[in-house]
Subunit: 401 residues, 2 copies
Amino acid sequence: MKKTFLLSLFAMCLSTAMAQQALWNNSQIVSPLINEDNSVTFTLFAPNAQTVQVTGDFLPAQEIEVPDWGKVKVPGVADLSKDENGVWSFTTAAPLSPELYMYSFLVDGVKTMDPSNVYMIRDVASVTNIFLIDGEGSRAHAYRVNDVPHGTVSRVWYDSPGLNKKRRMSIYTPPGYEDSQESYPVFYLLHGAGGDEEAWLALGRTAQIMDNLIAEGKAQPMIVVMTNGNPTQEAAPGETSEGLIVPGMDVSRMNQGEFETSFPDVINYVDQHYRTKTDKANRAIGGLSMGGFHSLHTSKLYPDLFDYVGLFSAAIFPFEGRDQAPVYQDFEGKLKTQFEKNPKLYWIGIGDEDFLYKDNEKFRKILDENGYPYEYYETPDGHIWKNWRIYLTEFAPKLFK
Amino acid sequence: MKKTFLLSLFAMCLSTAMAQQALWNNSQIVSPLINEDNSVTFTLFAPNAQTVQVTGDFLPAQEIEVPDWGKVKVPGVADLSKDENGVWSFTTAAPLSPELYMYSFLVDGVKTMDPSNVYMIRDVASVTNIFLIDGEGSRAHAYRVNDVPHGTVSRVWYDSPGLNKKRRMSIYTPPGYEDSQESYPVFYLLHGAGGDEEAWLALGRTAQIMDNLIAEGKAQPMIVVMTNGNPTQEAAPGETSEGLIVPGMDVSRMNQGEFETSFPDVINYVDQHYRTKTDKANRAIGGLSMGGFHSLHTSKLYPDLFDYVGLFSAAIFPFEGRDQAPVYQDFEGKLKTQFEKNPKLYWIGIGDEDFLYKDNEKFRKILDENGYPYEYYETPDGHIWKNWRIYLTEFAPKLFK
């Protein structure tokens, strides 16, 4: 293994135009570069491009007018400027606060991943680059991998007779699980429309958040089960025999109640294959958007199963104007039964700009009028991952105590 | 949950310029499109771009001259052509044979992921889109997810006293593992320089290949353990407390033998935490490039541990001109001891264009001269993932029989 080995390693690196570019340009671009003051510089080598822009959730959102839909908020866009070497760059005007951010470039109008940044996350049908601004003591510090014991993350296939499918879920077991004989409580954590069993692990940073909360003694060691909430799917796009399909969002069967009625399939698998505590006091269910909807309706369908319920920017009411499955009928009666059994925590988190804010207000009014106790946590912003990470970080420490 | 819910789901979809593009363009681009004859069409909406090209391993490779290095083979490039709507496209001249392919676009010279394709895989420090051409009976049919029972894939942290680190590895347990009391043989599968514990799962398609081989009865159910072969790393880039670092290739400590000497740490963890058969006849080690090097030297350092050894495009000899750790000293003596213990299978696979071909030839000569039995499998092409998937598909069925 001589010089040829290094040469050829080098040749392997050349296998992308990016590497060529870095070579010909004779410099290694670092992008995004987090500056000392937490401003961020984005850089792209693109001598032949006419325009280069960056779009991301750290830029002020813009409202655009969409035919038939009205005003819609989309992430802002900023122009990069070009130097004499064909290197484009942009630095944020102000430092960014600690957070996990998403962005991509627009090169002559075409969405482009930053070729200097290998960290990309798929959210439903689109992929964005990510970066993380850290800050000791900040909430976002729990979104990063820290030097703490790490849990195990597994992708597991289970049988769901209720959906007549083999299905995939993601399971987090806490640090120490493998080396103990103890049984653990279980938190079922559900994604939103268009998501899948990867969503909470990717943009939700669940493994990092749980590792960090447990290491700091803020949360109990627990098993976190992330299911696939789309009854038509076996697993995330690309993980089934359908092949590398284009991911989409299908809520057409959301009023059929299949996810909720078949939920015991999940619990049965988990209780049979993991060391779990199987009583109500050691079981939680929570989720975002459609997953909040699923948490709400599953927990009142099975009022003896969950002592902890978390609704994160939850959809509340079933679609109007469609036949409604029995799961959703007698909403208030089922809720009454659930609250008569005194769940230990019913938790609602929502952003003040969320499109589901009014539905949540309406739901809280029902809870208030009936004297059903719940905790309420309101944040700025709307229906975005930033909020769901916050809600997970708030909710998990309240479980199983 | 009324029209507003759907509206806002839609608004969420708008969160990328790509979605906007699809909207304004009033058409959903499908790219890559695999045509009926297995030719492939790549499409990109880029009305303002001056040039759009595609580069990928399905195009004839080109040789370029690199200063100081000489001629280097890189993937070919093809031009897309633009229609009156600003939509660029290119269709391969001929059908592509069944295989997993990698590609990316070049928009005005900038490497761009295909915004219509969410399937991307990181290989060392660069990311490419992928697509798969299927074909019943073809080898590549085993690279896709088929409608067969699936194993579990876990990312596990273990303690390595030998490297003084907590480290991460990926573990595949075969379908049925969770529901049996049986013990299973273990195959340790090692990546190349610059790779990590994700490499064999991503471009190596290990989980799919094992699921399919086991379902067809071609391979025994086995546990596959994919370690991180870089002694300086705890885990893959982005999975450690170093943060979202730029991945790199560091072979500076490759002559120190730490990976090989500390390998019992891995085996101990696996044997203590999984139901494994712990005798030599039920343990295999194999790997690609640097992982082949590790397999060769680990198996002769511990001649009682592995009855199956697989060298895939393996580096053979330690770097010359550096101090060599005891692991690598007495090469032929150690090899003699290993072969005196009659390993059941010593398997060598390499491509006829591989830069390590000559070193493998030299090594085979040593084996031949000493009468040490081995199987040899030569393929076209060089040091590429296509070959490593082939070698895995050839090697795994020979294990534990």
